[in-house]
């Protein structure tokens, strides 16, 4: 195992220059969760229309894996239907469990998270944003979750 298995350029780029990290006033759905293991905290806010995620933003603090995963997620699910976003979330989880070989065309930057599979304790960090998104849209409205784990 080498350090660049986990800290790929893409991950460091999203960590240092997070995309869509902002408040989303008037968001239709929002949810916050934390990972008590390391104190990562992520809030995801999204605007939904006709079952489609129009705009997805996040706020939070934590390690590079949790925050870059959130950043990449907002880019990859924006514009998708809730169904497609949840399907991608399932595939990301599958990739992190070592069970899904990512299709680079579908995954885009998210492929960079593949290396986390070798670091089991960090998988929770990578999954956190996806858990928050899932809870936000499954409630279909304002929700505030508790601890993710």
């Amino acid at each position: 195992m080498a350090l660049d298995d986990i800290y790929k350029e893409t991950i460091l780029d999203h960590y240092k220059n997070p995309r869509n990290k902002r408040e989303l006033p008037g968001a239709v759905v929002t949810c916050t969760k934390n990972n008590p293991l390391c104190g990562d905290e992520i809030t995801v806010a999204a605007n939904l229309e006709d079952g489609k995620l129009l705009e997805v933003a996040f706020e939070g603090a934590g390690c590079s894996i949790s925050q870059s995963s959130a950043s990449m997620m907002t880019e990859s699910v924006g514009g998708k239907t809730v169904g497609d976003a949840m399907s991608l979330a399932a595939d990301v989880r599958g990739m992190l469990a070592g069970e899904v070989e990512p299709d680079e065309d579908v995954f885009g930057d998210l492929v960079a998270l593949k290396g986390v599979v070798k670091y089991p304790i960090r998988i929770k960090c990578a999954v956190l944003a996806w858990d928050v998104l899932q809870e936000a849209v499954s409630d279909g409205g304002a929700a505030s979750g508790g601890a993710a784990h």
Binding site: A2, I6, Y15, A61, C63, C125
Partner: protein, 415 residues
């Protein structure tokens, strides 16, 4: 058993290191730099061999069996009790209860003493730097009894703020439960002063000794405390070894915690009578091999001398604080090594502790990155987590240098 030679008042670290087989590991091709002894310590071959020999030569269950093996196992187990009692200055070995360590011990006191004697409105005084294992058992008991939890605050530096002690220790205070040495900050609270203030109002003093006992000479009589918890795995012993010291009058008066075989005198359909302490608190098959291994760990520590252990860690801690601060790290907790032990938590250049620990791991450096089961303290410090390096008898200044070098590597990745 072979013991390590030592020079008076100091530790011969190279010969100590030779006793720890695991230090020969080379994670990621690097020399192992183990800086997580506050989490669990490594084990010398004397402990490993003792446990192995017990299973190879003496294994049997305690007390009841009438054959040679069982008599040997029982004698070894009870000898371990004598050793642990002597190690903490307890004159009466029946005041030492064996169990899995601090978490189980605090649960024992909270349930056995707390549920029996706490009433609605009584207060349990904790501090803002307690480990969750010295908070949650009291919360559970407070919920059941109507007792109220109070917390001694901390100073900016991370010592206990005793300026309002008199308003917090009152006639309502029935228990003071305090750490002997903070697992995050290394802070050594003034136990004698606290015990005396608590006893002045008739409160019982419980000391979480998980970090205190492995690193300092301890004498329960001199400290004047009522209960002390001991985690064997943090003091070179096997996991799930250790126990509880309790003043005999208190052990006699309180209820058992776990019920089962071996802790009873007679069992009737609707009630039972119990053995005398310590057996009243030792239900079921005990952690025999572990406590026998702990006795070997105590022999090892005593061969070094606990004064020398403390001195060694003071020197390492002072060196580490200096080097970390020079490298740009913010070190939490008191800086004066006279009032702190060798658990050094720090924040380094806004690199998240998890990321930092991951990079350090690649360099063979093992540290802990977490809230250290002290979320109340993390809120006080205003951080989600810290990186913690902690030292023991086998650590050297070269280990500290390796840590600081690895920090530079992390900075290169995340800058």
């Amino acid at each position: 058993m072979a013991v390590t030679e030592r020079r008076a008042g100091s530790i011969d670290v190279e010969s100590v290191r030779a006793d720890f087989p695991i230090l020969g590991r080379t994670p990621h091709g690097k020399k192992l730099v183990y800086l997580d002894s506050a989490n669990t310590s490594q084990k010398p071959r004397q402990v490993i061999d003792t446990v192995s020999e017990y299973y190879r030569e003496h294994n049997a269950n305690l007390y009841r069996a009438v054959y040679e093996l069982a008599e040997e196992a029982t004698a070894m187990f009870e000898t371990a009790r004598l050793k642990l009692a002597a190690f903490i200055g307890a004159p009466d070995p029946t005041t030492v209860v064996f169990n899995r360590g601090t978490t189980e011990s605090i649960n024992l006191v909270a349930n056995g003493w707390g549920r029996r004697f706490l009433k609605e409105g009584d207060e349990v005084l904790l501090t803002d730097m307690e480990h969750h294992s010295n908070i949650v058992p009291w919360q559970l008991v407070a919920n059941a009894t109507g007792a109220v939890l109070r917390y001694l605050p901390l100073t900016e530096e991370g010592s206990l703020d005793l300026t309002n002690l008199e308003s917090l220790i009152t006639e309502r205070t029935k228990v003071l439960a305090v750490t002997g040495q903070s697992n995050v900050l290394g802070t050594l609270p003034p136990l004698k002063e606290l015990a005396s203030a608590a006893h002045a109002v008739g409160a019982v003093v419980v000391v979480d000794g998980a970090q205190l006992v492995p690193h300092n000479p301890v004498d329960v009589v001199d400290l004047g405390i009522d209960f002390l918890t001991i985690s064997g795995h943090k003091m070179l012993g096997p996991t799930a070894s250790g126990g509880l010291y309790g003043r005999r009058e208190l052990l006699d008066a309180m209820d058992p915690f776990l019920g089962g075989g071996e802790m009873i005198m007679e069992v009737f359909p609707d009630h039972s009578t119990y053995k005398e302490p310590p057996h009243k608190f030792e239900a079921g098959t005990m952690n025999i091999a572990q406590e026998i291994g702990l006795a070997a760990a105590i022999d090892y520590l005593e061969s070094l001398g606990m004064d020398a252990v403390r001195e060694h860690e003071k020197q390492l801690t002072a060196y580490a604080i200096g080097r970390l601060e020079d490298a740009g790290a913010v070190v939490h907790g008191p800086k004066d090594v006279e009032v702190r032990g060798g658990a050094v938590s720090f924040w380094y250049r806004d690199i998240h502790p998890h990321d930092l620990a991951q990079v350090l791991d690649q360099e063979g450096v093992c540290v802990r990155a977490s809230h250290h089961c002290a979320q109340i303290l993390m809120r006080h410090l205003g951080v989600p987590a810290t990186t913690r390096a902690s030292f023991y008898v086998y650590n050297t200044t070269e280990d500290v240098d390796a840590l600081v070098d690895a920090l530079a590597r992390a900075e290169a990745v995340f800058a």
